[in-house]
């Protein structure tokens, strides 16, 4: 019911945003810098939302998301640069290979919990990075040249599909099962939910979209290097999810937009940027451990405003 009410406004809104930006770009009202920033925002939202599915919905604390980004980036770059196939094939195959990587990583490591899972995913991401570092076919440490193919249209369509799939997944039976795993894994196990299955599925879907984001990412920067996909990239993605609210999709989207804009302006001062990021992480965790929006969605706030007194139904 929730889906059918919100689906068409969402589609129309998305279409409006797309058309406005596309018109502005073709008219030359947005220069290269702004359109690049917009593409970058779209990529970051895809990353944030895909990690939101793993951390926010399923409650599995993965800090190795940059590994899947790297898989998508490299595989798609190989497809367009070495095999000369169209970009759309590269995006899909990049996503699929990243999903397979997600399965390979997820099936053994999702048996672990909490801190151990975090460290294991971090370890896998580092292994993926080191593997690319040691393959001469993709340029090793020097990196690989990639031509710029990512346009606003590609970025926006991917973003649209990502949000649509993840919202629908969240509202489906599977999503509810995944939320029950987040709330209490032992209890949901006792209720007959196959917790491992749902954790792995959510992880693979998250990895798929991280791979899609990787394909867009690699075709946006002219060059990819293993160094771009280290710990810091994973933490960058993590902070989107944490700041927005663990379990809030709109929160993840908003914080991805906000932090991308902030970091674009702080590009010349990388230390200041990281100091601000780390302070944000610490302060948010100390004073609002569920993130700024908690598990609330932005539409919940609208309902709260409409019913100022009895708005508790969507509260916690």
């Amino acid at each position: 019911m929730k889906k059918s009410k919100q689906f068409w406004p969402f589609v129309v809104g998305a279409l409006l945003i797309y058309i406005v930006v596309q018109v502005l770009i073709t008219n030359g009202m947005l220069n290269q810098f702004y359109s690049n920033t917009l593409i970058f925002i779209a990529i970051n939202i895809i990353l944030a939302v895909s990690l939101h599915l793993v951390i926010g919905i399923t409650g599995q604390f993965s800090i190795g998301h940059a590994g899947f980004l790297a898989v998508g980036a490299y595989i798609s770059a190989i497809i367009t640069m070495k095999l000369d196939l169209p970009f759309i094939v590269a995006i899909i195959v990049g996503g699929l290979v990243a999903a397979v990587a997600g399965l390979i990583v997820g099936i053994p490591s999702l048996r672990l919990k909490g801190d151990y899972l975090a460290i294991a995913t971090l370890g896998f991401a580092e292994i993926i990075r080191i593997v690319f570092l040691n393959i001469d076919y993709v340029g090793g440490a020097a990196g690989m040249q990639v031509s710029k193919l990512t346009t606003w249209t590609y970025a926006f369509v991917c973003l649209f599909i990502t949000i649509l799939v993840i919202v629908n997944f969240t509202n489906s039976r599977h999503g509810i099962a995944a939320i029950s795993v987040r709330e209490n894994e032992i209890a949901s196990d006792a209720m007959g939910i196959n917790t491992t299955y749902y954790k792995v599925v959510a992880f693979a879907i998250g990895s798929f979209f991280a791979g899609v984001a990787g394909a867009l990412f690699s075709h946006n920067f002219y060059i990819i290097q293993p160094g771009q996909f280290g710990f810091l990239k994973s933490f960058d993605i993590l902070i989107f999810v944490v700041l927005g609210g663990l379990g809030s999709l709109s929160g993840a989207v908003l914080s991805a937009i906000l932090l991308t804009v902030v970091s674009t302006y702080l590009q010349g001062y990388p230390e200041t940027r990281m100091i601000i990021y780390s302070l944000v992480l610490i302060i948010v965790m100390l004073y609002r451990p569920k993130g700024l929006m908690g598990t609330m969605e932005i539409t919940d706030y609208f309902k709260l405003w409409r019913t100022p007194k009895g708005g508790g139904q969507n509260g916690k």
């Binding site: 951390i55 604390f61 800090i63 053994p108 490591s109 048996r111 672990l112 909490g114 801190d115 151990y116 975090a118 460290i119 294991a120 971090l122 370890g123 896998f124 580092e126 292994i127 080191i130 593997v131 570092l133 040691n134 032992i186 710990f231 933490f235 993590l238 944490v242 663990l246 230390e271 200041t272 990281m274 100091i275 990021y277 780390s278 302070l279 944000v280 992480l281 610490i282 965790m285 100390l286 451990p289």
Partner: protein
């Protein structure tokens, strides 16, 4: 005879890992937190040692002691400001805070002094002697003896002093320890102080042995030391020592075989294998999950 040489290199590297891993394992044992910032305390210790040698012209041992004291203080400050409020928070919140503290220290140091690396001064003569055909430098002997002395000291503190007894009690059962009149806050602070002091010592030793230090040097040794702690069984002090030495030797052997680019990957593969097949580590006992 090259193998003896490599073994000695491995043990030297491993003893540094072991010193850092001890801090991880003690903190984890007592508040179940992976203190990501521990690797950065190690880095800060290294820089304090560097400045006390170059700016104040001190020798190795005074620099070691200054660095250990400063790091102990630093560790307690971190614990009091960032981690104390999170005692009852979720594990994920604590972990994210630890990541934040770690990034803050790294980039705070870069902000203050820049990211350029620094060359550690030679504090020992580079003499070496031959032993069974292997070249052993005085440095590696000294490093090894410093590590061994510190570990013996730690064992003494944990098993023979009142603080150590309190630490063991708190890590066994915090609530019960509180009921027995143990000051839990002070005990946790003492744990952070001791762990951070060991990391500081490891920092100075690392600087002397590898001569190059920079503000991001703590990340990789920090993660490796964590792997060492998991390998030995996290929360178990002798486990951290054995795990550290083992990891150091394995890494050196992998490098010696000509796979030095894969060295970091091997450490992570060990971590994942341990986590999957024996998550309680070499010395750990299997504990049953309680609902």
């Amino acid at each position: 005879m090259e193998w003896i040489q490599q073994l000695i290199n491995g043990i030297s590297l491993g003893s540094i890992y072991a010193l850092i891993a001890l801090g991880y394992t003690m903190v984890y044992g007592i508040i179940k937190l992976i203190n990501f910032a521990h690797g950065d305390v190690f880095m800060v210790g290294s820089f304090i040692g560097f400045y006390s040698i170059t700016v104040f012209g001190l020798g190795f041992f005074p620099a070691l002691i200054i660095s250990m004291t400063a790091c102990a203080l630093f560790g307690v400050i971190i614990e009091r400001i960032a981690y104390k409020r999170l005692r009852n928070a979720t594990r994920i919140a604590a972990l994210i805070t630890a990541i934040g503290v770690s990034l803050l220290i790294e980039y705070g140091v870069i902000y203050i002094r820049g990211a350029q690396p620094e060359a550690y001064p030679d504090v020992f003569s580079n003499k070496s002697f031959e032993f069974l055909g292997a070249q052993i430098s005085i440095q590696s002997i000294l490093i090894l003896s410093v590590s061994v002395v510190l570990m013996i000291l730690l064992q003494f503190i944990v098993h023979k002093t009142k603080t150590g007894k309190a630490m063991r009690a708190v890590s066994h059962d915090t609530e019960a320890a509180k009921l027995m009149g143990i000051n839990v806050d002070n005990t946790i602070s003492a744990t952070f102080a001791i762990g951070s002091a060991l990391a500081g010592a490891a920092g100075v030793v690392f600087g002397v042995y590898y001569t190059k230090i920079d503000p991001l040097m703590g990340v990789i040794p920090g993660v490796k030391a964590f792997i060492a702690a998991v390998l030995g069984g996290i929360g178990i002090i002798p486990g951290a020592m054995v795990g550290g030495l083992l990891l150091g030797v394995v890494e050196t052997i992998v490098s010696a075989l000509g796979f030095s680019l894969w060295r970091d990957a091997v450490a992570f593969v060990i971590l994942i294998l341990i986590l999957i097949f024996r998550p309680s580590g070499i010395f750990g006992k299997n504990t049953r999950e309680k609902v």
